[in-house]
């Protein structure tokens, strides 16, 4: 069925995806031992969702999920960081066209490029968008926000590198490979 605008599946994926995002953001950060630096499972999850459902869902879940979880936990949000997370979902979602998880394929080469793209996406989001937004909107000192940005990039990159790759591989493994049926 051809529909204009957002498909029903995307609407539901945004809704349920956001709900999972909020719960993961609330309960699953793992402290690394360095103060204020946690391994967040939400980012690998966002990468998985963006890869399965594409850039629009990636952007929306990043945006609504981040804003909602901030509001529900802190009572306020930092819009610059919300936008950064949304852009992260968007960029990873755009790359999903090159992947074919639906048919159970996730080769070593694809893993490499997926992680290259997510590194670039992290850099754009947390070293460019979030700090500049913080300076413009909240007028905070530049060196503080850039240090925060670099730390976030490093932890998110590592989280997606390890957990994101595992999640994508596991998802691909649940799908049936093309041409895997053959006649005896």
């Amino acid at each position: 069925m051809n529909q204009k605008g957002l498909s029903v599946k995307s609407v539901v994926a945004i809704g349920i995806g956001t709900a999972i995002y909020v719960i993961l953001a609330r309960f699953t950060s793992i402290p690394t031992g360095i103060p204020n630096t946690n391994i967040e499972i939400v980012y690998p999850f966002l990468a998985l969702l963006a890869t399965i459902y594409g850039p629009i869902v990636g952007f929306s879940v990043g945006f609504i999920g981040h804003a909602l979880s901030d509001f529900l936990m802190y009572g306020q949000t930092w819009w610059s960081w919300v936008l950064a997370t949304a852009i992260l979902g968007l960029i990873i979602g755009l790359y999903s066209r090159k992947l074919d998880l639906e048919h159970g394929v996730f080769t070593g080469k694809q893993m490499f490029f997926f992680n290259l793209i997510q590194l670039i996406a992290n850099l754009i989001s947390y070293v460019v968008i979030a700090p500049i937004g913080d300076i413009l909107i909240y007028s905070e000192p530049a060196n503080k926000v850039f240090l925060q940005g670099v730390t976030a990039t490093a932890t998110d990159f590592i989280a997606i590198l390890i957990l994101g790759t595992i999640l994508l591989k596991a998802y691909a493994a649940t799908k049936v490979k093309k041409g895997s049926l053959h006649k005896d």
Binding site: G5, V8, G17, A19, N36, I64, L68, G75, Y138, P141
Partner: protein, 276 residues
């Protein structure tokens, strides 16, 4: 147990509960933007006082919000210390004057810096009570319909309402899976070392994510069968028409924005500068 650690709608009977959700949303958005933009101490102080009074009117108890507020206070203090450590001269750069209070090399405390930090604190106090108020007094379905009312596409509004509807369900799933994994010896407490905890968390997160992906398929099929999204518009079961009080509160929000615009001209910029 661990439940209730997320803010949610609490039914009530106050003036604020009876306001239209659209009104509250417009008020929240406009006033938050106004507080975000301005660094005028007088305006921020008035809004602080006003939003605290609103919390009182809505009859919100301390214990309903205490965990969030404690969390925010810790976070705000860390943030303010960080702002100070990274650039103790930021205040004097902003206000273009220098009144030294304590002379200590790099960490010289100036009146300007303290004044800037005071503004940052005020900005925290301004927006938080308003958001708490909105979250605690607004029915999620009405929230979705009000998002649609202010111009957000109804599909996105519906997605938000789905999210709010499913947060408690996913939360229950999460704790069920967690309990099941702990019964099998999955160690998640602080005693376990990092790698073990990451593995333990993955053991919970994987089934949660994959069962939810199935859920997306089921719900979207059900919605497709009911022809969701085939029309350009939809109506909302919980929609309520505007009343006089809604018009008045909306007008107040616009007046507050206007005040910020006026203050911008008076102060010639974002910052109110008492040092000039």
């Amino acid at each position: 147990m661990h439940d209730d650690k997320i803010l949610g709608y609490q039914p009530g009977n106050s003036f604020i509960h009876h306001l239209n959700a659209t009104t509250k949303l417009i008020f929240l958005i406009l006033v938050s933007i106004a507080c975000m933009v301005t660094y005028d101490t007088r305006f921020l102080a008035v809004i602080c006082l006003f939003s605290l009074i609103c919390l009182k009117i809505a009859g919100i108890k301390w214990k309903q919000v205490s965990f969030v507020v404690n969390f925010i206070i810790v976070f705000a203090i860390i943030n303010i210390i960080a702002v100070f450590i990274f650039q103790p001269t930021y205040g004097q750069d902003l206000y273009q004057t220098k009144h030294v209070l304590i002379s200590a090399g790099y960490f010289t405390v100036t009146q300007e810096e303290l004044f800037y930090l005071l503004n940052v604190i005020l900005k925290y106090i301004c927006s938080i009570p308003l958001v708490l108020l909105f979250l605690l007094t607004t029915n999620p379905s009405q929230f979705a319909s009000s998002l649609n009312k202010i111009g957000v596409s109804y599909k996105i509004a519906y997605a938000v309402s789905l999210a709010l509807r499913y947060i408690p369900t996913v939360q229950t799933d999460y704790w069920e899976i967690s309990a099941a994994q702990q019964a099998r010896g999955n160690e998640l407490s602080k005693k376990a070392h990092l790698v073990k905890r990451i593995k333990g968390t993955l053991n919970i997160v994987m089934p949660l994510i994959f069962s939810s992906l199935d859920r997306i398929d089921i719900i979207s099929t059900a919605m497709q069968l009911r022809r969701f999204g085939s029309k350009k518009k939809r109506t909302w079961y919980v929609y309520e028409p505007f009343q006089l009080k809604d018009y008045l509160v909306t007008a107040l929000a616009f007046i507050l924005v206007l005040v910020v615009v006026v203050l911008w001209h008076v102060n010639s910029g974002r910052f109110f500068n008492p040092f000039r």
